[in-house]
Symmetry: C2
Subunit: 358 residues, 2 copies
């Protein structure tokens, strides 16, 4: 087991990364203070890992209940969140009840937001069971739900007590979801760590084959990079925005197709190709680097061509992105591997990128 | 104009108290950074003060929009909150948009919660137009909505940029709402400031007559006391709980009758009588002090007898109070004017108080 510490003062917490961690009581024990626990999971993950988690918690002698939600980004909205609140209040959960998010990013984001809002804040633990959530949503405390007019528009910053990233849970992950997780890992390397990007180029087939040692290193390095960025800018005042590389285009793809059609990681993968195209088009980035990025995204079998929603629809969707200010879209662009630039972009260049990538 | 500063480090903010403040551009100017403002108000307050506020904001050259919600505690739920999000997203509000809450406690709590959650947090300004909200919900950063199973169960701590408490707006306040505000002022004095309690006993008729000088002093002293409690315990870990004197019983009255039947301040007024009865019954408080408290509550024409919901229903409702832990109800009791005790209470004493007060 490896531990990455996220350093946020009195909101600091450990990320444990290793195989078969879900069943280990001692990983949960130090982080649960109250007398009750509510596990929030979905109908896909519950039959796979629900019993193992409850068996690990049993020796703690707490009252444990489980809320099983429908599976998918399409359910990341207020009605589903309310089902968590109904269960908490119906079960008389109090201010010291610990929520445990057992599942992927949707479960983590919704459980974290429920924890942020229930009685104005209760503790929670993330048990991410997808590669994407192990590297992405478990670091940084972003929680929330979608709104019909935009993704993650309603939410809060709320840090977990701990993250338990069980690499063994990746064995059951569908191929598409593995690739979606690799997209975020590639993103992290591209924006902040050229050496890690090279490591990925050399080890991408081992990752595709789900070799545990390769997965553990990739998860660890991604979490470390993201943790250092978040520690420097917890509330996303500046630096942290670089983590949204590929996300402005990606969110537009997700919103335009309807949430759940493409996976978040698929949209981000394609969004990175588009952001790199725009970076080259503006003279910021060497085309050879763009080609390396595209090759890596293709190697994990992610889409590199965006759905044909039409230029104007893309621009409309990007204007409600959270990074937009007064209707001006902010793009995270690449200058070289490990170096980014945040800027607005004149519409002709943007339309040229859309024309090239649709 | 008087200013009370709420000292919370980088979340500190001023409370301005005075007559005819809503129309003063310079009170708003320093607190609005972005390019757009969304005023959130209700159908009662909008015709009274909406134009004055928009006239004050006009010289700032910002894009100003207004969301008008239905009036009342019965609408303090997710559907109404969503109407704010719909308006913000529909109007392309961004991360720097400032929300202004123009109205009473319900508008303040919902607008503050919307500001806490919209894009994970945007700035907001409170313009409380009721006595209750001027002394209560504008200090301390508590925001939220109700759930069918409990009041303010879903919410966040989110501090405003500033509070503009316009005493002139109290001229239009219905009698019941004035009394409800005085209940919170009496509460603040009872738990933390015996001298202020005596001042209230001497000036209660001036307050009933809405004499501006008396109202300004009462609002100022209440805000000061509450600000000092909140500064010592922003997230309600300990001391801050004393502000809930009368609220355990009061919330049960509100929830039991259905939100909106009794005003919050009316329920708290009656709840203080019940908490004082319980304090005397447990040998903590001199009965003469209880009688002084009852006399002051009667002097502002607040109810001192609780609705007959039945003992068991009261106990059931109190067990889901946010202060309850593992089903044990925590009461804030009075030892003398200015001194409180937080404790659980054996059921026979609690049932005796319920029998005496229903």
């Amino acid at each position: 087991m490896i531990t990455v510490n996220v350093d946020l003062g009195d909101r600091s917490y450990p990320i444990r990364i290793g195989a078969d961690l879900i069943g280990q009581t001692e990983l949960f024990a130090p982080h649960i203070a109250g007398s009750s626990i509510t596990i929030v999971t979905n109908e896909t993950v519950e039959p796979l890992y629900g019993d193992a988690l409850r068996a690990a918690l049993a020796p703690l002698g707490k009252q444990v209940s489980t809320v099983v939600l429908p599976d998918g980004e399409a359910f990341k909205h207020w009605e589903t969140l309310n089902a968590i609140f109904d269960a908490l209040l119906g079960g008389k959960a109090d201010r010291k009840t610990t929520l445990i998010a057992l599942g992927g990013g949707v479960i983590g984001d919704m459980t974290g937001f429920a924890a942020a809002c229930y009685m104005r804040g209760v503790p929670f633990i993330q048990v991410p069971t997808t590669l994407l959530s192990q590297v992405d949503s478990s670091v940084g405390g972003k929680t929330g739900i979608n709104h019909p007019l935009g993704k993650n528009m309603i939410g809060a910053f709320h840090q977990p007590q701990a993250v338990i990233a069980d690499i063994a849970s990746l064995r059951t992950l569908p191929e598409r979801e593995l690739a979606a997780g690799l997209a975020e890992i590639i993103k992290t390397a591209a924006i902040a760590d050229a050496a890690f990007f090279e490591w990925l180029e050399q080890n991408i087939e081992a990752l595709n084959r789900r070799e545990p040692a390769a997965l553990m290193h990739a998860v660890k390095r991604s979490c470390e990079v993201k943790a250092s960025v978040v520690a420097a800018d917890e509330r996303e005042g500046g630096l942290r925005a670089i983590l949204n590389f590929g996300h402005t285009f990606g969110h537009a793809i997700e919103a335009g197709l309807g949430y759940g059609e493409w996976l978040h990681g698929e949209a981000v993968g394609c969004g990175m190709v588009m952001a790199a195209d725009l970076s080259v088009r503006l003279g910021l980035l060497d085309d050879a680097v763009r080609r390396r990025l595209v090759a890596l995204i293709e190697a994990v079998r992610l889409p590199t061509r965006a759905p044909a929603l039409g230029d104007s629809r893309y621009i409309e969707l990007m204007k409600v992105d959270k990074k937009a200010e007064a209707g001006t879209i902010k793009f995270i662009l690449l200058k070289q591997l490990g170096e980014t630039l945040i800027t607005d972009v004149a519409e002709p260049a943007l339309r040229a990128t859309l024309a090239a990538c649709l």
